[in-house]
Structures are given as C-alpha cells and as structure tokens.
Amino acid sequence: MKVFVYKIDSYSKDLFFPKERIKSKIQIINILLEASRYILSNPHIGENNSNDEIKLVIDKMSRLFFSSKNKYYSIVFPFNLYEEGGRIYFHYLNNINVDAYLISKTKSAINCDSFNDDCVLGFADSIFESSNSLESEELWSFLKELMLFEDGYIRYDKDLEGFNVAKEKGIPDRHPLTHYDLYYTNKAAFKIGLEVDNSIDDFIDLLNIKTDCKYIKN
C-alpha cells in the first residue's frame, strides 16, 4: 500500500472542506481536481499546527482521504500514478496526462455559467471555448470520464452539535454522535451510527479491500 501525505495550509482548507455540505458531483470533481493539483504542485507548507491533511492511498483500491479534526471523508482517486525523478505524474485511461494545464482547462469548463445552461449547446460551448486550442483535444474525453466515474463518497463525522440538536428533539439516533455518511445527494444519502470513535487509520482500513471487512452488528 502506498500512502502519500500532504499537509493542507489554512488558505487551501476551504477548497477541501467547503463550508456547505457537498451536494453535487461537480463539487466532487472540483475537489478531485484541486487535490490533484495540490499533490502535483506539492506546495511547501511552513510550520503549522494544522492537522488537516490529504492522504492519497493506493493499493488495490485507490482513494483520496481528506482529514481534519473529527471529520474525514474519502473519494475515489481515478487516475493512475507513476513516479519519475522524484516527481509524481497522473495519467487517466493510460493516455491522458493529467497535468496542471488539463486541470485548469477542465475547471474553467465546468465552472463557467454556460455549463449550467439548460440546453446541450450551452454546455458544448463551454467545453468548446476551453478546448478550441490545438493543445486541448483531450479535454472532452477527460471530462466525460470524470462525469461518469463512480466517486465512492463516504464521510466519517463526529458531530456534537448535530447530535445535541437531535437529542433535544428526542431523536438522538437520527443523528448519532459518531457516524458515517454515505452518498451526498438528498435522496441517496444516509447515516450509519458508530458506537466508538474512528481514527483516520480505522477509516482507511474500512475502505481498504485488501484488509478484513468490518461488520455491522445488531
């Protein structure tokens, strides 16, 4: 199992731990791209006491873990990684080089207004505008794969505030103190309560398919 660890500086924290709960695939894609960019750039972080980290864990599974105090979440990392000359490179589908350029082009394509257009042509325009140079022919195939990939979102949360609110309402088990959140859209998302706290290593272990499985007991 390969694990790459990156400390997150306070200015980048908002990118990986958005104030609002994650609700859409676009947010997931943005986080994936920002994390990839962060890892490729591997910025030097001065001495800081922050516990916030990105862990890229590659084994049979391949996942990104974002951890801060009492909150961890993970998404699939769909790119292939290889190292050369002390640097990391990402590839997708074996032939697309996921570099700073492609990340930037993709981000501008999915974050512009016309991406949300109610007509396919508006959407196409945004892709086209970003890919009209001879250098970015890969943009569309890359973006298509990103939109289709299964992101495998799961979150571990120790949320005293939410728990207390539920407790006051007399329904503490609707919001257990420590829990997993699976999925992120309203109709799909649900919680699984935990009786004990999880460390980030427990969380990684849960998702590692090469270690023993966990059981839900009751």
């Binding site: 030097h44 007509c119 508006g122 325009d125 086209f128 001879l134």
Partner: protein, 663 residues
C-alpha cells in the same frame, strides 16, 4: 497648438465671442492647463435667462470665475445665485454636500464674480484667482459636478490623501476637453466613434453615454457589446452600481431594454450575445464558434439575410448599439449594426490595441480622438510602446508617420543624425505626486517564484494600504508549462503573504481580496495599481510584442517586467533609464528602405488574418501534400515554436524541415 484640455460649451454671440477667443488663445498657450467654458451646469437641465451674457471659467486650481460681460449687476447677481443654488442641489444629489458643505461654506472662497474691462488679461485673471491648498480639492470637486464628471465622493473624499497609492486612487477625475465633447456635443452622423489609447477613458465615456441614452429615452432598446467575455461580464456588473452612482432612478430592465453582453453568444440563450440575439430576432440560424466560423463569416451571412428582408417587414432590432474595443471586429460588423439600429451607434476603439495594425485601416473617420492616457503613468506607457515597437532595438518592428505619432499623444523631436526624441504631456492624475524617484517600470532578470514573492512583499511594505486585488500577475507565454508555474505561484502567495489568489484563467472575472493571476486572455479593459508581467524571454514576434505592450499598460502605478532569459534585456534597461531620467524615448528613425521593409512584413502577416490559424495551416498542408494523419502532430509541434502565426515563409520552412520526423 490645440489644447485637448480646453472645452467650450457656450454658444458664441456678439457679446461673448471676443472673450471666448481670448480665453481660447490663452488655453492654446497653456496646453497643460485644463479650462472649461460653460454658462450652465453640463448634463443637467438648467438654463438661465442672463446666460448669454456670462462666461463661467472652470480650471482646476483656480476659483470658479463668473464673468459678467455687459455689466448688469442685478441680473448678473441673480444669475450667480441661481447657478449656485442649482450647484448646491447637484452637490446634494451626488452626496458631495456631506463632504464639501453648504454653499455658504465654500461660496466666498471658491467663487469669484468678475466684471471685466477690456484691459484685463486672462493671465491676470488666473493669477489673481489661484486657490490655496486647502481649497483646491473643494474647487476641483465643484468643477467635477458642473461638468458632470461625477466622482465617488465616498472613495475620493475631500481630504488630501496621504500615501501615493491613495493619492492615485483618490485622484479627482475630470473629463478633459475631448471627453466632454464626446458626451455633450450633438453629433449629426449616425455612427459616432471615439478612438484612443487604452486607458484614455473610452469605456467610462461609453458608460456615461449609455446612462444618458437610457435616461433620455422613454423605451430605448440598447445593446452594449464587446468581443471579450470577461470584459462583457465586468461591464454588466458595473452598470447597476454606475447607474446607482449617477443617480439614475429608472430601473434597469435587463434583456428587454438593456443588454450588455459579448458579440457572439451561445446558441440556446438568445440574450447571451448580440449575434445570438439578432439570430433569434430575425429568425436565422445561429452559427456556433468553431474552426471554420469567424466574425467575418457570421456577420456577413447575418447582414445578407437581413438585407433580404422586405422593407415593409423589416424592424430595427435596437435603438442604440454601443461597442467597446472596436478593433476586435471586422468592418462588416459595423455595417450590420448600422442596418439593425434605429438611431445611433457609439463605437469606442483603441487605435493602438494592435500596434501593428495597418494604419490606413484604423485611420477611418473618427469623431473624437483621445490622446491622453489617464490610466498609465506616461513613463510606463512610453516604455510599453518602445518595447512593443522595438524602438530600443536596431531593427524596429514598426514606425509611424509624424501625424500618427501625434494622434497617439507623442511630440516628435528630431535631434539630428536620425535620432528622435518622443515625449508625452504629463497628465493630471500624476501631477504633483513627486513620482520622480519612483520607477514606474521595473525590469528584473528572473522569473523565480521567490523573486515574485519578494516583489509582492516589497509592494506590501511600501504601500501600506495595498489590497490583494490591487495586483495582477500576468503570464505572457503560451505553453502548458505556465500552468504548473501558476499553481506553484498561487500556493506560495497563499502561504507566504497570506493573500488569497484569483485564478482568472478559470474564473474569468475580478474578485475582491485576491491577487489576480492570469495568462494574457482575461486582461482586456481591466486595470490594476500594480501589474507584474512574467515571461521566459522577449520574443520578436508581432503578436507577442503587441501583447507585451498591452499588458504593461494595465497598471496605473507600477509595472514589473520579469524576464527569465537575459537576451536583449540590456537595450531595454538602458532605454528605460532614459525614460525614467529624462521623461522621453530616445530612438533612431529607420531609413526609408527600412520603413518599406517594415511595411511589407506587416502587410504579409496581416493579409492572412482573415482566415483562422487552423485554416491557414491546412492550406499549407495541402500545398505541401502532407498526409492527414500527420497534420495534428505537426500542428502541435508548430505551436510550440516561436514562429509568428500566419508567417507563411517560416511555417513552410519548419514543416519541410521537420515533416520526416512526424510521419
């Protein structure tokens, strides 16, 4: 010599014509002094019965002078009191009153009533009516109200600012003579165009014009457009606050009365562009952007289609169209606008956006030429022009006729031996700011991130009130490697300065509290106190030089040029030194043969501009019979080189030399 700072809005009559002539003569002798002659506040609906016997002289630094030409004290005093009352109302309307106080507080100091006799000279009048330092700012603020050049009083303030950055930011902006003419003079032609360097205030003037049209007409349909999406977005977001600020009470009815968007637009949303709107208005098929469509094609087809509509069925799409950055459009676009617009078209263009544009094309009839650049320090502008045109190099990239130099604001002085000195008039924004010790342009021979951070830190150190959004970092090169550089730069700025960054390549808009980082695509129409341009090396291609020129002029305090490669830098550094020391460009004039050679190179490159670069390459591939399978590889290779786009000779040479390696 004409004084572009002089403007008279008084109708001449027998009583006033001698005095107007006298003052005009004075202004022609004193070309650095701004003088307006009026008889009622501009841009408002005031008129006075005694008006034709009065000249009001406005000039920054002097009292507001009311000249009674026929010596009728009771009527003159009545006129003065009415004028002051109205001025007081305007001052209240734009919230100046809280800052400058009531008329009784400024009237006696700032306003002087004069009944001149024939012996009195204009020099004497000005000499005796100098304002002391305490009253100068109030005087200027009152002038700004009278000529309708409204400043944001909450930002400008009445107190003299302390730091250099604040002084430049809080400078009271007054329209100069040419600008005032564009706004208030009635033009008879349907298309009214202004032209000037970037930073001469064209966009601002269009906004003022827009406001006037929007307010004046009952139900106007106005489209305000430009080529660039980022600029269109900025304009659209500026309008509500601008209208609000100009106390426009009428609601903005977006996309039914007023459109502000780019010229093309997208297929689905007809309001997303001028072309997409008229495609839906006249019901013809919209063509999306691709390699084979361009402005020429879509506008030509649109015009053909609309010309084919029967007269009785034809309707105008708009009452007015306002166009910014005219140089981005082909001629047929203006023909199309003329066809679909009921009343008037106002066009602002930058004769110099492309400094290699064929001058004949841009010397089209223009109604107002603005040659004073208010954005950029004249020294930065001179340097940017020099580097753009290659003035410090042996082989110049372009050279102009004297008339054209004049049109872009230069005085040409030949000092013999082919040597020429080019200089610019100082501008109000930088008057008395003691900028002599302050380099307006800095060249550094490094693009290392650590050095960029150093510059940012020194700016922060020197200008205590600087905000992250006051700084733009522009990467001039076009290759994939810059994206990696930008990433590292962004993280370093965050961690070392604790400033946020705005990756404008992705956001395509300005945001508060973040350093603006971009390639050369999202800069048009924007300005920043500080600009840092970063490049691997100074290239000799026309496109590159033009971009470099444009980017350097985006600053209004200081521009930095960071170059990794030192080739050619020493000539630039010594040329810049002359600019900084002597306030002029010293260069040599090309010989006649050299001028002809320059022209023919320019023509060769420009003639190819009507087709897209992809088409241009395809033509060459066809001629050279390059197999389809290898074209895209070769294309990729060509764009990695420094070969000028559309330079056929070099492109052919490259393909011939390299084709065997790409097949």
């Amino acid at each position: 010599m004409d004084n572009s700072l002089f403007y008279s809005h008084i109708e001449e009559n027998d009583v006033n014509k001698d005095w107007i002539r006298k003052i005009k003569n004075y202004a022609e002798q004193n070309t650095e002094q701004q003088v307006y002659l009026i008889s009622a506040p501009l841009g408002e609906k005031y008129s006075y019965s005694y008006e034709e016997n009065v000249i009001v002289i406005l000039s920054p630094g002097y009292r507001i002078l009311f000249l009674d030409l026929i010596d009728n004290a009771p009527l003159f005093n009545e006129y003065c009191e009415d004028f002051i009352e109205d001025l007081s109302y305007i001052s209240d309307k734009y919230s100046y009153k809280e800052y400058i106080g009531r008329p009784r507080e400024w009237k006696s100091e700032i306003i002087n009533r004069i009944t001149p006799n024939n012996n009195l000279t204009i020099e004497q009048i000005f000499r005796e009516n100098n304002l002391d330092d305490d009253n100068q700012r109030v005087g200027e603020l009152l002038i700004s109200l009278i000529v309708g050049s409204i400043n944001d009083i909450t930002k400008v303030g009445v107190k003299e600012p302390e730091t250099l950055l604040d002084k430049v930011k809080q400078n009271i902006i007054l329209f100069d003579g040419d600008q005032t003419r564009f706004i208030y003079q009635k033009f008879t032609n349907k298309t009214v165009s202004i032209q000037g360097l970037s930073g001469t205030g064209k966009t601002e003037l269009l906004l003022h014009k827009l406001k006037e049209l929007y307010v004046l007409e009952e139900e106007p349909k106005i489209f305000f457009t430009c080529h660039n999406i980022a600029l269109a977005n900025t304009l659209r977001s500026r309008i509500p606050s601008f209208f609000n600020f100009m106390r426009v009470e009428k609601q903005i009815e977006w996309n039914s009365k007023l459109w502000v968007n780019r010229a093309w637009g997208s297929g689905k949303d007809s309001n997303s562009g001028l072309y997409s709107y008229i495609a839906s208005f006249y019901n013809f098929p919209f063509l999306g952007y691709d390699f084979s469509t361009n402005y020429n094609k879509i506008f030509t087809l649109a015009l053909e289609y609309i010309n084919g509509i029967d007269d009785e069925d034809f309707e105008f799409a708009f009452d007015y169209i306002l166009i910014d950055e005219r140089q981005d459009f082909p001629k047929v676009f203006f023909d199309l606008c003329d066809k679909i617009t009921r009343k008037k078209i106002y066009i602002a263009g930058d004769i110099f956006q492309d400094i290699f544009e064929n001058t004949l094309e841009t010397e089209l009839e223009v109604d107002v030429i603005l040659n004073r650049c208010y954005r950029t320090d004249p020294r930065t502008l001179m340097f940017a022009h020099s580097i753009g045109l290659g003035l410090f190099e042996k082989e110049k990239l372009n050279w102009f006729e004297d008339l054209y130099w004049k049109a872009i604001g230069y005085n040409v002085n030949r000092i013999g031996n082919n040597q020429v000195e080019l200089s610019r008039e100082p501008i109000r924004r930088f008057e008395g700011l003691m900028l002599e010790d302050f380099e307006s342009t800095v060249i550094e021979n490094s693009t290392k991130i650590i050095d960029v951070i150093k510059i940012l830190k020194s700016i922060k150190e020197r200008h205590k009130t600087v905000m992250p959004e006051d700084i733009a970092i522009i990467i001039l090169d076009r290759n994939k490697a810059i994206y990696e550089y930008i990433d590292s730069l962004c993280y370093s700025i965050r961690s070392q300065l604790e400033w946020n960054v705005n990756r404008a390549i992705e956001t395509k808009s300005k945001t508060k509290n973040a350093v603006y980082i971009t390639n050369t695509n999202n800069v048009k129409g924007l300005e920043f106190p500080f600009v840092i341009c970063i490049t691997a090396g100074i290239k000799n291609t026309y496109r590159y030089r033009n971009i470099l020129y444009t980017m350097l002029t985006r600053s209004f305090i200081q521009s930095y040029l960071l170059v990794q490669n030192e080739i050619g830098l020493s000539a630039l550094i010594s040329g810049l030194k002359v600019i900084n020391d002597e306030n002029l460009i010293r260069t040599s004039e090309p010989s006649e043969e050299e001028k002809i050679a320059i022209k023919s190179t320019l023509v060769r490159i420009q003639n190819k501009k009507n087709i897209s670069y992809k088409e241009f390459l395809n033509e060459i591939f066809n001629e050279l019979e390059i197999d389809n399978r290898f074209r895209s590889k070769l294309e990729k290779a060509i764009i990695q080189t420094d070969i000028e786009e559309f330079d056929k000779d070099k492109t052919v040479k490259f393909i011939v030399a390299n084709k065997e390696f790409y097949s």
